[in-house]
């Protein structure tokens, strides 16, 4: 009997004693005192406690570097140019950094531990990034796997952004998910409607955030959004826009088109919008966009189904979106003012469209895209 009690007690006691030693060493060794983060050559400075990763420390100061994974080093989004010496690049960072970025001192801010004073460079736009408290105002199914979510901003009550930018939805722990994560979604709402943020969220099987939105989120729930981020936007040139999207890649374009229409922005630009889906059940906003096309002469909408069912009564284009795109660029789209490509969708679709566009005379530097990783 004694043995049964004694065994676990000894193991637990030894573990506890060692844990105590570890905690004490941690207190002594990991105390880096106060360090200064210098941003953009002295423009801003933050005095913070050292010992934590740069990403989280900046967030605690209200500076939100974009990060989709929440600091676990698995998304590669939180890149920051570090000007002072913070030690060699970690093996956890190298897969996300190009040789050019490595040469420029770009690091993943979630992997850089603050040990001493540090100087970094951040894009000025980042300081307009805020954390918004918002309430779910609407949550509609637009297809069997895409939800149209509209959030009303409570505090701050307005967001200032450019069409094409994205926000990060903060997903709280739910069900078996124990940690809060953040996922990026392009805003489908217009900048003119600054009190709301609309997102299109497609259910990804096994996806943490999309499953949350599709199963747990309800109208009236409070959520947090961080943004705006991103440089996907309409370029101010006379060149015609050739836009291609699939699935929830609709979002940034919906924002761009309705914003341009509202403000009559870039009046010289012709707009061609190709939207690809497999069958009618994947297609959405069809009537809305056709109405926009009828009212707005410079907007041309080309929806295409790759596998329309025989009883769907589909009258639009059929075939892979890349084939439809190639046909239109060759025969239908006027090229006298030049062409620009705008893409939003899966990496596979984007790469295929880039190939079609460059093959048909659009310079690679004139193709802009937002890839869903």
């Amino acid at each position: 009997m004694n043995q049964i009690v004694l065994g676990p007690l000894v193991v637990a006691g030894a573990a506890a004693a060692l844990a105590l030693v570890i905690a004490l060493v941690d207190r002594v060794v990991n105390d880096y005192g106060e360090v200064t983060i210098d941003v953009n050559h002295g423009k801003r400075a933050y005095k913070v406690r050292g010992g934590s990763p740069l990403l989280g420390t900046l967030a605690s100061q209200g500076v939100f570097v974009p990060s989709a994974c929440g600091g676990r080093g698995s998304c590669g989004a939180c890149k920051v140019r570090v000007l002072s010496d913070v030690g060699p690049v970690l093996p956890t960072e190298t897969p996300y950094l190009s040789p050019q970025e490595l040469a420029n001192g770009v690091r993943l801010s979630c992997q850089v531990k603050l040990k001493k004073d540090i100087a970094i460079e951040l894009p000025e736009e980042l300081f307009s990034v805020k954390k918004f408290k918002a309430t779910v105002e609407r949550l509609d199914d637009v297809t069997y796997d895409i939800k149209d979510a509209v959030f009303r901003l409570d505090e701050p009550a307005e967001i200032s952004f450019t069409s094409g930018q994205y926000v990060q939805l903060v997903v709280p722990p739910y069900g078996t998910i124990k940690e809060s994560v953040q996922r990026a979604y392009s805003m489908a709402s217009r900048p003119g409607d600054s009190g709301r943020v609309e997102l299109l969220i497609r259910l990804v099987p096994g996806g943490i955030a999309t499953t949350y939105v599709h199963t747990a989120l309800k109208v009236g729930d409070r959520v947090e959004l961080v943004g705006p981020f991103g440089d996907f936007r309409v370029r101010d040139t006379p060149a015609a826009m050739v836009c291609v999207a699939g699935g929830s890649g609709m979002a940034p374009f919906k924002s761009m088109f309705y914003d341009m229409r509202e403000r009559d922005a870039f009046p010289e630009k012709e707009i061609w919008y190709f939207f690809g889906a497999r069958s009618s059940r994947d297609m959405f906003y069809l009537d809305e966009l056709r109405r926009l096309e009828a009212e707005w002469p410079r907007f041309h909408f080309v929806p295409a189904l790759s596998e329309p069912g025989p009883d769907e009564g589909w009258t639009g284009e059929t075939g892979l979106i890349t084939d439809v795109l190639e046909r239109y660029i060759k025969d239908r789209i006027a090229k006298d003012k030049g062409l620009e490509g705008y893409l939003c969708g899966s990496p596979g679709m984007i790469n295929a469209c880039i190939a079609v566009m460059t093959r048909n005379g659009i310079a690679e530097g004139d193709v802009f895209y937002d890839k869903f990783a």
Binding site: V10, V11, A14, V29, N30, L90
Partner: protein, 197 residues
């Protein structure tokens, strides 16, 4: 009871004649994966040596003053593993603070020392052979240095043979295993010179 072997003899014996790696083949995984690069091998060997020496001493004290008096020898495995994990954790924090460059070069391999079987192996030999405290520390340090020596030798050989033409199927781990085999054979020449048991 406690064997009569002189700690100094034991120290050298565990480096050369009873090398923990080349005669007992313990700690092979990191031995093969890290020995590609001389610098990392140097750092890892140093870390293994330090961890082995400290854990041998701590484990001996725990064994002598906690486990043995209570008759809990059957728990020694679990306790040793906890001790190794704690020592590695502490060492990691200290190295991170004291020498960030070494910390970076060790990277993922420092925490992996926790599961380096050579360390647990050395502690278990110490227990089975009933070493005294000085003997245990000498054996731990010697085994660590022996491991360090072996990985440095292999790293040096691998850097030299890197460019050698090797049949495609034997490249990498294949030729490394053969190299280790030759090294082990060479070390067998020492065996029997000193009985460590």
């Amino acid at each position: 009871m406690t064997p009569l072997i002189n700690p100094v003899t034991l120290f050298f014996a565990s480096i050369f004649t009873s090398n923990i790696l080349l005669t007992n083949f313990l700690g092979m995984c990191s031995f093969i994966s890290i020995s590609k690069d001389w610098k990392s091998s140097f750092g890892l060997g140093m870390a293994v040596t330090v961890v082995m020496t400290i854990t041998a001493a701590v484990s001996w004290l725990v064994l002598e003053y906690v486990i043995a008096p209570l008759g809990l020898e059957y728990l020694s495995f679990i306790v040793f593993i906890v001790v190794i994990a704690a020592v590695v954790q502490i060492l990691e924090m200290v190295i991170d603070r004291a020498s960030p460059a070494l910390y970076m070069s060790l990277g993922i391999f420092l925490p992996l020392i926790t599961v380096n079987c050579a360390i647990l192996g050395a502690i278990l030999f110490m227990q089975i052979r009933r070493y005294g405290f000085i003997q245990a520390v000498a054996f731990g340090a010697g085994s660590g240095l022996g491991w360090w020596l072996a990985i440095l030798l292999l790293a040096a050989i691998r850097e030299r043979t890197e460019k050698n033409p090797v049949p495609a199927g034997l490249k990498g781990p294949g030729i490394t295993m053969i190299t280790i085999g030759f090294m082990a054979m060479a070390f067998i020449g020492f065996s029997g010179m000193i009985a460590v048991q």
